[in-house]
Structure formats: C-alpha cells, structure tokens
C-alpha cells in the first residue's frame, strides 16, 4: 500500500483530470450543438465550459462521471448566456436569428436536418432532456441529476419532446430555417421568454 489519502490532488490525479476532460470534449460539442444549433456558438460554449471545469477541478470527484459533471457546467453556461443576451437588450431578433439563420452575408443557410430544426423549436428544458436521454444515452436518473430536477420531470419532458417531434416530423410541419417562418420564430421567442423569465418593461 502507498500513502493514505493525500490531502491535495496528486500529480497523477491532475493528469487524470486533464485526460478525462479532454476525452469528453467531443461529447460536450455534440451536446452544445444540439442545444444551440450553430457549430461556432456551440464551440464557444464548450470552451467556456472547459474553462469553468478547469477552475472547478478540485470539486470533481475522481471515479465519477466526467461527462455528467461537465454537462452540468455546459448547461449552466448555456442558460447564463441566454439570459445575458436577453438582459443586454440586443437579443430580440439577434439571438433568434443566430440560432437558426446563417451569418450575415452568407447566402447558404445552415444545413440542419429536419430533425435538428424541429429539435430547436422545442422549449429548452424539453430539448435538453431529449438530447441527454435520446442522443447522449443518459439514463433518466442521470439526466435528472444533470438538470437538477426529479426523475419524473425528466420522463415527462422527454415524453412531451418525443410527442412534439413525432407530430412535427410525421406531418411535415417543420419550421423553416429563418425567422420569417412563423412557427420557428414563435418557438424561439417563446424559448427566450421562458429562459429569461418575465419581461421587465418595454
């Protein structure tokens, strides 16, 4: 046997942390892209999450799931960014367009699949629940821990998300890419509304 519990992180543990963090980056990118649609925004979000994870590494318990731990951080960063944009006042059309529309001056729209566009119209809490369970392969219990809510809540969100996507994709009622589309536009504004909470005054 070697030393009893070291009070500080050993060099080996620090190296493990860095290795594990590196290994989950592709998963963070996938989760982030599902959340916000735009690859460049998604990668910015991942960088932000990595910085926060690094700064908080003393709080990571070795042996637990690095993917679940970092997903919590990424999710919080996403929600914070959404709120911040909202409160800056520059969001209105801006964020809505950045979610679904190609950058200015770029003719070619972002190529999202029907499924992905439909996904982006879901309220954020249903979208993340479906991403975690239906794409990331997390159990309901793990997803509930990541989203800090009850298991039953996650089940219900996933169920509603599935029902909505079934209806949208079966009926071909899929929102277009741009905010000209009333379905997408309304969905995005509702999403911003629900993320940002009640409006102050306009």
């Amino acid at each position: 046997m070697v030393d009893p519990e070291p009070p500080k992180r050993t060099t080996a543990q620090a190296a493990d942390f860095k290795r594990e963090l590196t290994e989950v980056i592709p998963h963070l990118r996938a989760f982030a892209r599902g959340l916000c649609g735009r690859p460049d925004m998604a990668d910015d979000l991942v960088q932000e999450a990595l910085l926060k994870a690094w700064a908080a590494q003393e709080r990571f318990e070795p042996g637990t799931s690095m993917r679940a731990w970092t997903f919590v951080i990424l999710r919080n960063a996403y929600l914070t960014d959404m709120r911040r944009n909202r409160f800056r006042g520059e969001y209105d059309e801006g964020v809505a367009e950045r979610i679904l529309v190609a950058p200015a001056g770029q003719e070619e729209p972002l190529h999202l699949s029907d499924m992905h566009r439909a996904l982006l119209t879901l309220p954020p809490e249903r979208r993340e629940a479906l991403l975690l369970v239906g794409a990331g392969g997390f159990s309901y219990e793990e997803a509930a821990q990541i989203c800090d809510c009850a298991v039953g809540t996650i089940k219900s969100r996933v169920g509603r998300a599935r029902a909505t996507l079934n209806a949208m994709l079966a009926e071909g009622n899929i929102p277009d890419r741009s905010s000209d589309d009333p379905i997408a536009h309304t969905a995005i504004l509702e999403e911003l509304e629900s993320v940002a909470g009640p409006r102050t005054s306009d």
Partner: protein
C-alpha cells in the same frame, strides 16, 4: 393551408403510424446527429486551451491564482 406533400417522396404511403413505436426514424437521426459530432475531428483550439491552462497552473503553484487564469482568459477573449 392543409396541403399534403405525400406524393413528394414517391411512394410514401405511410399514412399509418410507423409500427416501431418506440423508435421512429427521427430518433435514430437524433442519435446519429450526436454521434456524428462526437466523431468529428477535434479542432486544435480545445487541446491548446487545456495545455495553456495546464501550463498556467504549473507556473503558478506558489500563487493561488489558478482560477484567475480561466477568468482572465475569458475576459481577454470577450
């Protein structure tokens, strides 16, 4: 209003609901989407960032400013 595009995809006479209730096509698409991003080659910027953080930590073991590295990097970036 209620235009039907059923003829568009050829003989998609799938008026009835798909038999596989638990796993409609889009559900596979969702997993494939996730997996395809996971399988993308990783841009160097991510590893570079972690290396930079790692160096910063080694160089500043006497100070207690590890957490600051991250935030100042963020601030510089924004």
């Amino acid at each position: 209003m209620a235009s039907r595009n059923q003829s568009e995809e050829g003989s998609s006479s799938s008026r009835e609901k798909p038999a596989r209730q638990g796993s409609p096509d889009w559900a596979d698409g969702l997993r494939q989407f996730y997996d395809s991003v996971v399988d993308e080659p990783l841009p160097d910027s991510f590893k570079d960032l972690l290396d930079k953080l790692d160096e910063g930590q080694e160089n500043s073991t006497t100070h207690n400013s590890n957490a600051d590295d991250g935030s100042s990097y963020l601030a510089g970036k924004a």
